[in-house]
């Protein structure tokens, strides 16, 4: 997943949703979900290594391009198979399919650049460092992760 989420940091402001809407002509591909009163989680495309959406797509509109699960709008017929094949529910179809494209052509995805809480990152090292630090803190407190 080329954009990593740190759920601990997310403050549920939904800035990422706004940023995504703005750069994709009013159609957003990231949704902030609230889990009771306890947590908020931005949900978006994982860019799965073996992506079910690309397996389901019969026209070749969805395909793997390196780490990215890319989308060729010219080949899409809007059949709806990809939306049903995504285990995370993050491919939508109306007349055509739409999903996260990692803001192709921009230096950094708009959601990552916008997040005021630094909950989103494209840096795998940073994400895994945070994860290890959290595990160490939990271990120091004697709790099990």
């Amino acid at each position: 997943m080329p954009v990593y989420v740190d759920v601990d940091r997310c403050i549920g402001c939904r800035s990422c949703e706004v940023a995504c809407h703005r750069v994709h002509g009013g159609i957003g591909h990231i949704h902030v979900h609230f889990v009771g009163d306890f947590a908020s989680v931005p949900i978006f495309c994982h860019h799965c290594e073996e992506a079910s959406c690309t397996i389901a797509c019969f026209s070749g509109a969805l395909y793997k391009d390196g780490e990215r699960t890319a989308f060729d709008v010219k080949k899409c017929t809007g059949c709806g198979l990809c939306s049903l094949a995504c285990p995370y529910g993050v491919v939508w179809t109306d007349k055509i399919a739409h999903k996260c494209d990692l803001c192709e052509g921009r230096a950094e995805p708009a959601c990552v650049a916008t997040c005021p809480a630094n909950a989103l990152t494209t840096d795998y090292e940073l994400a895994s460092r945070r994860e290890r630090a959290r595990a160490a803190r939990a271990a120091a407190k004697g709790g099990r992760r």
């Binding site: 759920v7 949900i43 017929t77 059949c79 995504c86 529910g89």
Partner: protein, 139 residues
Amino acid sequence: MIKVDDSLCIGCKSCSNVCPSQNIVRTETEKMRSIHWKRCKEECDLCVEFCPARALTLVPFDETVQEPDLSFDLVACKICGSRYASEPMLRRIEAALAADSERDSEGLEWIRVCPTCRRSREAEMASRETVLERCRRGQ
């Protein structure tokens, strides 16, 4: 004119989306999706080319033949009950992903859950540890 093999059609939105002359009409209600293929004289074969199930063929125009019409009951989501897909579409995805399903303990059960509930479930999974930790701290 379009001929439809109703044993092959999966009830997707492809042909009705690609038809440039609105000769394929899709009607959606809460519980059902219906597709109606009008008698057409066009020589275009976009619908045939873009049918994922290869259910369509072009045949010579014939006024006596009835216009094909198919209806699909939409399947209800296992969690929220909202109707979200045609049965043949879900079966097709199950078949396409079957080879990979062994890796996952839950198998392909998620296909019977609507995309909205899949997102909520994913949010709950991703935040499980955070929620537990915050509950502990709050006590």
